[in-house]
């Protein structure tokens, strides 16, 4: 009962034959071998599997791969596609926004979406935006710091046309 779908993943068109019941997260991890997207709770709670679908954060364990047909999916692998860390990645590293790193791909993608919409978020807005992503290590303090630092970095580099293009690509 295969179904043919074409999904633009990290800018590349991918066509595959999938079963209708295949979840988007399994499509990414098993068919495309993009294992940066993690499966945490598998019950729509933790946000570890968050990816961007047409720019919007979605829990990829709670969407069917066939539903992504014709859409744009962005995973953590796209963030450093150019070989340099995305400002959000650099800030998570710099500010110790992770310990074990399991929730980090989801945290960063939600953060990227937040910063695209609100380039200068308050602490409250960051905590609110990330409230669907659970971290068991950090206590969130450094995650909030990292997002603030990324925001400042992205604002500063927005003045430089080349860097602005690099961050807008994600």
């Amino acid at each position: 009962m295969g179904q043919s779908i074409t999904v633009t993943v990290n800018g590349e068109k991918k066509t595959a034959e999938v079963e209708a019941r295949l979840l988007l997260v399994h499509f990414l991890r098993e068919k495309l071998r993009l294992t940066g997207t993690h499966i945490g709770c598998d019950t729509t709670h933790c946000g570890a599997c968050t990816v961007l679908v047409d720019g919007t954060p979605v829990k990829s364990c709670t969407m069917l791969a066939v539903q992504a047909d014709g859409q744009q999916v962005t995973t953590v692998e796209a963030l450093a596609a150019s070989g340099t860390l995305h400002p959000v990645q650099a800030a998570f590293k710099q500010e110790h926004g992770l310990q074990c790193g399991f929730c980090t791909p989801g945290m960063m993608l939600t953060s990227v979406a937040l910063l695209q919409e609100k380039p200068d978020p308050t602490d409250d807005e960051i905590r609110w935006a990330l409230s669907g992503n659970i971290c068991r290590c950090t206590g969130y303090m450094n995650i909030v710091k990292a997002v603030k630092s990324a925001a400042a970095q992205m604002k500063a580099s927005a003045a430089v046309p080349e860097a602005a293009t690099a961050s807008a690509r994600s």
């Binding site: 979605v58 969407m63 669907g132």
Partner: protein, 290 residues
């Protein structure tokens, strides 16, 4: 976890959807946001033979006031409600509830209509619609019918919708001047289901209550409408004694069960306190404040 196998359909029009549902009967299930249905499929609590995905039908995504009615289409996501300036300015109970549904990522995808049809007794939108005295338009291939929210819910995860029907529109009487509302929810953490929540909607008329709507979440086998409390408010001035009496009646209407979220007495008391606070907040908003 993988759902049981099913056949997937993604119709492009409402007519095509209704035709499919008509053919499939009990075997078909509508997929909107999927934030409740997909977890149920994964847990194998549900295993429909056919899924009819309506996400590609863009004209089902509308949230607008027209002809004296607020109309909400089947694909309006929680996020759209959360960000709607129309709801923020005139439909306070909805604007209050939206950001308290699940978590921000789920709100990006989950829909109001889907949540209503899912009919979880701990769901929030059903309660809000009970307070607003909403009408639900149920459409099938053979026609459409309109059901009051209070006649729609029939038990835990049960409603009067037929497998061949979709909830094609939620209709709420357009907000008039001197109306106000509030939604108060107690949850242990973001994304948890409500321990208790209370929806209040008030229509005032020269200092007196013209009509009141009170809905209760997670304290019964379905979302409840506290009708005796509503009746006690009708025609009354909203002084402290009236508010206390209505809150006591709402608490009486609750039928909570003890669980890890609290005892029967505790939950009943939260209903009382939230009804009091909700009425005060709604009254303030009806007078143009808050």
């Amino acid at each position: 976890m993988l759902p049981a196998p099913f056949e997937y359909h993604a119709p492009r029009t409402t007519e095509e959807t209704l035709e499919l549902l008509d053919q499939l009967g009990d075997e078909g299930k509508v997929l909107a946001g999927g934030q409740s249905l997909i977890p149920l499929l994964k847990l194998r609590f549900a295993s429909p033979a056919h899924l009819v995905d309506i996400n590609k039908i863009k004209d089902l995504d509308f949230l607008e006031e027209r002809d004296g009615t607020l109309r909400i289409g089947p694909l309006v996501r929680h996020k759209a409600a959360e960000r709607s300036s129309l709801l923020a300015s005139r439909y306070h109970v909805m604007a209050d509830a939206a950001p308290q549904i699940a978590d921000p990522i789920i709100r990006n995808r989950g829909t109001i209509a889907g949540s209503v049809v899912h009919a979880d007794p701990s769901g929030d939108w059903g309660t809000v619609l009970l307070a607003l005295d909403a009408d639900l338009v149920l459409r099938s291939k053979s026609g459409s019918r309109t059901v009051k929210a209070r006649d729609f819910f029939s038990g835990p995860f049960s409603t009067t919708i037929q497998p061949t029907e979709i909830l094609s529109e939620i209709r709420i009487p357009a907000a008039k001047p001197q109306s106000g509302g509030a939604y108060l929810k107690l949850e242990r953490k973001v994304g948890d289901f409500a321990t208790v929540a209370v929806a209040v909607h008030l229509q005032m008329d020269d200092g007196k209550v013209r009509s009141a709507g009170i809905g209760l979440t997670a304290v019964g086998p379905q979302n409840l409408k506290a009708e005796r409390a509503e009746a006690a408010l009708r025609g009354a001035r909203l002084d402290d004694a009236t508010i206390k009496q209505a809150a006591a009646l709402a608490a009486e209407a609750a039928e909570p069960k003890e669980d890890h979220r609290g005892s029967v007495e505790y939950k009943r008391n939260v209903v009382r306190v939230f009804t009091e606070r909700g009425l005060k907040r709604a009254y303030e908003r009806a007078r143009g404040g808050g």
